[in-house]
Amino acid sequence: MPVVDLSEMPLRELNSQLHALPQDTNETHWQVKNPEGRHAVAVGLDAPVTVEIDGHVGYYCAGMNKTATVIVAGNAGVGVAENMMSGTVHIKGDASQSAGATGQGGLLVIDGNASARCGISMKGIDIVVKGSIGPMSAFMAQAGNLVVLGDAGEALGDSIYEARLFVRGSVKSLGADCEEKPVTDEDRNVLRDLLKRASADVSAEDFKLYGSARRLYHFHVDNAGAY
């Protein structure tokens, strides 16, 4: 198992080694020591390997992740798992703003809290936050599922297109065109599956579902006076 100490190896060297891994590599488990809040750790991985990072990371950790599993034993800075395609990213501490931004697939699990704009413009990613999320989360969300075991800040789901937003705690306020929805069996099954995959031991019955009221999709003639 390769162990990389970032106080000794330059970050670029680590990222190049990870990028060079073939799909059938035998080096499937990496450990990274002393990240000390560095930006862009383990970005752009596309091989089915697991990278465990021991400490806090800076901006864009595990961005564009594809098939890999990235585990951070610490906090993550802005834009963790940004534009993730597939695979799993697990943050054991808190995440800064824009966690999972524009993510297209895969699973992002945050054990602590996520700050503002969690899941902004999400396009298919699944995000499970075991703590609470900050204001303006799921802004312009397009597809995927956001599951929050704690509370949500102001303007949840502002200008949302689609995507399911499951919140177990309180929602400070809903953004434009976001509303509470009835939960169908299909929704409940999706939620159950995500809670299981994220090892979140809570009941799927305790969540409310929020989604798009679909009033912003089209020009509405009653609003003509506003233009």
Binding site: E36, G37, R38, H56, Y59, G77, S96, Q97, E154
Partner: protein, 298 residues
Amino acid sequence: MCGIVGLFLKDKSLEPKLGEMLSGMLTVMCDRGPDSAGFAVYGAGQGTEVKLTLRSSDGQSIDGLKADLEKALGLKLNATQRDTHLVVAIPSDKEEATRVFLSKARPDVKVVGAGQRMELFKEVGLPSDVADRFGLSAMSGTHGIGHTRMATESAVTTNGAHPFSTGADQCLVHNGSLSNHNAVRRTLVREGVSIETENDSEVAAGYLTWKMRDGASLKQALESSLDDLDGFYTFVVGTETGFAVLRDPIACKPAVMAETDGYVAFGSEYRALAGLPGIETARVWEPEPATVYAWERQ
């Protein structure tokens, strides 16, 4: 981009280490703002004196400045020269005479900061070099703020560097840009607040000075700025006894804070806080948008 840091000590035993801690934080923020840097430190002070931080704005030497001031005021003065800046303690009743003398005899000299406890330094250059030149790491104090600048809209000059001080013992660092600063500047000038540059951040500092002059607390002044200042910003502000943080209503610029029994710390990024003592067990959080966080020394 720019980086900002702030540190407010709750534990008196940390005061001799304020400069060392702040210097470490500022150095990490070099790559957010490599053009210039500045910082303000609230150190020792006496009620009967005002400390003026002076520097020459056109590169002239300030070597003989102390002697010139002593001659003009007919007094022996306590002064410390740090690189391009001179910190001189003046009896409070001689502040006006000092300013008059400077404006006549040394119009090149700017009063960068004034107050009972605040000292303020700023220069062009890599922030870690700037901190070294002024000897930040050896300074002690109760709180301090700092800024690393990546100029985007105006030239890289010492005048454009932060912090900005527009009132006694008041200073502000800013990450962002204000869109209505010209209109607010006109109001401030009308209200008699002295504004010296075209910089938007100085307007924010002047705005708080104006509100506090009219009786607002630091917290109240920042709360009213939410209505009156337009644009994006994270402010970190110091007063003689206070320390406060405010982000704009959409929290445009990054900010992270940490609190322990010993201190409250602010950084543009977590990296800036990573070297602080006890950070592993500190409460770390991101300040909410449009929410004033303020602390006062007891």
